[in-house]
Amino acid sequence: MSRFVRMFHTSIGCKQIMAVTGVVLVLFVIGHLAGNLLIYAGQDALNQYAQNLQSMGPLLWLARLVLLAAFVLHIVAGVRLSKLNHQARDVRYQVNAFSQTDPLRKARVTAAMYMLQTGLVILAFVIYHLLHFTLGFIGREGYQLMQTLPDGTERHDVYGMVIFGFRQSAVALSYVVAMLFLGAHLVHGFGSMFQTFGAHNPVVVSLVKVITPIAVAFIVIGNCAIPLSILLGLYGGGGS
C-alpha cells in the first residue's frame, strides 16, 4: 500500500497507475462491446446474456468494484498529472510549432493534447449511460419493459429497452458522439500504455502502429453501429 502511495506521488509512478487502470478500462470496453453486439443475435440472446450477468451475484459486484476503482484512480491520476503538466510550463510560447513531420504522429500528438478533455466527456457520458440503461433513472418507460418467457416467468427486456432508447434521435446521437470522444482518447491512449510500461522495441512499435487503428475502429464502429442501425430503422423493426 505504501509503495502505491509513493508511486502515486511521483511522475512516472502516477502515470503507470493511469496506464494499469487504462488497461482495465480498455479490456472492459472491448468485453462490454462484445456482449452488446449480441443484440444482433436477437432478443433472446441479449436478454439471456443480461440475465446471466445478473445471476453472477457477488462476482458481478466484485467486477463492478474493480471497474469503479480503476475508473476513479484513472481520473484522479489523470487530473493530478494534467495539473502538474500545466504548471510546469508557466509562461507560454508566443509561437508554437510541431517539430514532428509524420502526419500520423501529428494526429496522435493532437489527440494527446486533449486527453483530459476527451476523458472528461467520457466521464460525463458514463454517468449518463449508467443513469439511463443500468439504473433506469432516465428513460424509465424503456427500462420497465419486461419479456415474458414461454414458461410464464418474466425477465428484464434489455433488448426492448435498447431499441426503445435508440429510436429517440437525441439519445442515439449522444451515444455516437461520446464514442467518437472515446475513440480520440484511445488514438493516443492505446499506444501510450505500452511506452508507459516500457515496452518500446521495433516489434512493439510496429505492432502498436497496426493494432491502434484496428482496435479504435472496432470500438468506435462497433459501439456506434448499435444506436445508428436502430435509429435509421435498419435493425429492431421499422424506423420511428
Partner: protein, 258 residues
C-alpha cells in the same frame, strides 16, 4: 538578407519581459544563427542600446550551451542541429523570425534569452554517476562490454544536456534528458550496482525541480539536436516500475538522498 526579428527582452529574473521588434539588414546566408545575433548586438551596441543576452560557448554543437526557441522550435527548424550549427541559409530574405527563451517553470529566465538550466545539473547530482574506488586505474578493457550494449550506451551518452527536450515538450518534461543520463549508465556493467537507486532518485529529483511528466508526445525526440530516442524513456519507465515494486525500501517514507 533583410530580416524582421521579434526577440524576448527581460531585464532580470523578476522583471516582466516582452517581445521587441528589430530590423536587421546585411545578414549573410553563410552566417550561423548566433553570428546573426552577434551582428545585431554589434549594431545595438553602436547605437548605445543594451545588447541581447544569449547563451553560447563551443559554437560547434558539442557543449549544449546554446538554446533559443526559433519560430516555435527549439534550436530552430533544422533537424538534429543546435542553434550554433544552424545557418541563415535556412531562412529567406524578408523572413520574420520569433526568438524566445526555453520556457519551463524549472528554467527561470535570467536575462533576455538566457535561462537557468542548473535543475538539469541537480538531476545528475542525484544519481547520474557511478561510485568507483580511487587509487590505481583499472586496466583498460578489463571489463568486457558487449558491442551492441556499448553502442546503445553511446547513443544515450550523446546527450549534451541542452534542455531542448524540455523546451519542446508541451509539459516541459525533462524525461528525455533524465532517461538519456540513466540510459548511458544502465547499459554498461559499471552502472549496474547503483541502477535501482539511480532511477529512483533521479526521477524524484526531476519531479522536485518542477518539470512536467511525459505524456508520450515525442516532440522531445524530434527537437533533440542529438536525436536521442524515446526508447530510453521507455527503459526508464520500466526500470522505475521494477524498482518501485522490488526495492525493499521503496514503501518507506521518501529516502532522503541528502
Amino acid at each position: 538578407m533583410n530580416l524582421t526579428l521579434y526577440i524576448w527582452r527581460q531585464r532580470d529574473r523578476n522583471a516582466r519581459g516582452q517581445m521587441v521588434k528589430y530590423h536587421l539588414s546585411d545578414v549573410s546566408p553563410d552566417m550561423s544563427f548566433l553570428e546573426m545575433l552577434d551582428l545585431l548586438n554589434q549594431k545595438l551596441y553602436e547605437s548605445g542600446e543594451e545588447p541581447i543576452a544569449f547563451d553560447h560557448d563551443c559554437r560547434e554543437g558539442i557543449c549544449g550551451m546554446c538554446s533559443l526557441v526559433i519560430n516555435g522550435q527549439p534550436h530552430g527548424p533544422q533537424a538534429a542541429t543546435t542553434t550554433c550549427q544552424l545557418h541563415m541559409r535556412k531562412f529567406k530574405d524578408g523572413d520574420t523570425i520569433y526568438i524566445e527563451p526555453f520556457r519551463a517553470r524549472a528554467f527561470p529566465v535570467i536575462r533576455d534569452l538566457v535561462v537557468d538550466r542548473s535543475a538539469l545539473d541537480r538531476i545528475i547530482q542525484a544519481g547520474g554517476f557511478i561510485s568507483a574506488p580511487t587509487g590505481s586505474a583499472v586496466d583498460a578493457n578489463s571489463i568486457p562490454v558487449p558491442r551492441d550494449e556499448a553502442e546503445t550506451a553511446m547513443d544515450a551518452a550523446e546527450c549534451i544536456g541542452c534542455g531542448a527536450c524540455v523546451a519542446a515538450c508541451k509539459n516541459a518534461s525533462a524525461m528525455l534528458f533524465t532517461a538519456a543520463k540513466i540510459g548511458h549508465l544502465k547499459h554498461l556493467p559499471q552502472g549496474q550496482p547503483e541502477r535501482r537507486r539511480r532511477v529512483l532518485s533521479m526521477v524524484e529529483q526531476m519531479d522536485a525541480e518542477g518539470f512536467g511528466n511525459c505524456t508520450n508526445y515525442y516532440e522531445c525526440e524530434a527537437a533533440c539536436p542529438k536525436e536521442i530516442s524515446v526508447k530510453f524513456i521507455a527503459e526508464m519507465n520500466r526500470d522505475y516500475l521494477k524498482a518501485a515494486l522490488t526495492d525493499p525500501n521503496y514503501g518507506e517514507k521518501k529516502s532522503s538522498s541528502k
